[in-house]
């Protein structure tokens, strides 16, 4: 069945390499057999000693037997299951981290709001204290002004009383002087 390959057959096969690689299970079967034994190739590299080894039917069976193929498929299945489990764990852990982060952020926001409220309260208290000081200062200024005003009034009254008394004294002196003159004339 393998003899008599025509040139057109070869051309047809070689011009459609990709299709042969991807679709022919026998090619892949041979590829797996060639790669058997850790990827170095049981049959490759032109190594005659290796080539002699692989003529052993037992060795070949160990490489390409259906049981080993099933092992490969089972290993892939386990690998995929482990990967799915890892993805689930990663998703769960990430959700947990995200929840913790949001909870922490929420607490931090509440703390900031509380600090802002306390700062506002402190500011209001300070303003009240300032107002109180200003009020006290105004009161003191008013009292001092009134005191000065009263003092001025008292001073002016005293000066006025003294002036009046001085004028009275002078008037009495003139009266006495006039009476003395009139007495001498009479």
């Amino acid at each position: 069945m393998t003899e008599g390959l025509s040139a057109s057959d070869v051309l047809a096969l070689t011009r459609d390499n990709d299709n042969v690689w991807s679709n022919n299970p026998f090619i892949y079967f041979v590829w797996l057999a060639l790669l058997g034994g850790g990827g170095n190739g049981w049959f490759g590299g032109g190594n005659n000693a290796t080539r002699d080894l692989i003529t052993s039917t037992d060795l070949q069976n160990a490489i390409v037997s259906g049981n080993n193929m099933q092992d490969i498929f089972r290993n892939f299945g386990e690998l995929t299951a482990n990967l799915d489990g890892f993805e689930r764990d990663a998703t769960a852990n990430w959700n947990g981290i995200r929840y913790d982060f949001l909870a922490g952020l929420n607490g931090l926001t509440a703390e900031v709001m509380q600090n802002r409220f306390e700062n506002q309260q402190l500011g209001c208290q300070t303003n009240r204290n300032i107002d109180s000081v200003k009020s006290e200062a105004y009161k003191n200024t008013c009292e001092i002004t009134n005191a000065i005003h009263y003092e001025g009034q008292a001073t002016r009254a005293l000066i006025e009383a003294n002036t009046i008394q001085d004028l009275r004294d002078k008037l009495e002196a003139k009266d006495r002087e006039l009476l003395g003159t009139q007495f001498q004339l009479s």
């Binding site: 057959d9 070869v10 041979v30 892939f76 299945g77």
Partner: protein, 66 residues
């Protein structure tokens, strides 16, 4: 579960140059055993024949062929 159908796309791709070199050095007796193993594994005869023809064509073309 059919692992083959599920996981086949994840299998390593065939390296053309490496395959060509390996196939060129593959003894005729070994190729015959591989054909027998493929038949036992349930690979279609048509696929085996076309694949075998392709490998032989590589051996005729390649400088690696012995």
């Amino acid at each position: 579960m059919n692992y083959y159908n599920q996981l086949q796309p994840q299998f390593p791709k065939i390296n053309f140059n490496q395959f060509q070199q390996m196939a060129a050095n593959l003894p005729e007796s070994m190729l015959a055993q591989l054909v027998a193993q493929a038949q036992i594994s349930g690979i279609k005869q048509q696929d085996i024949e076309s694949g075998l023809n392709y490998i032989k064509s590589l051996r005729n073309q390649t400088p690696y062929g012995g």
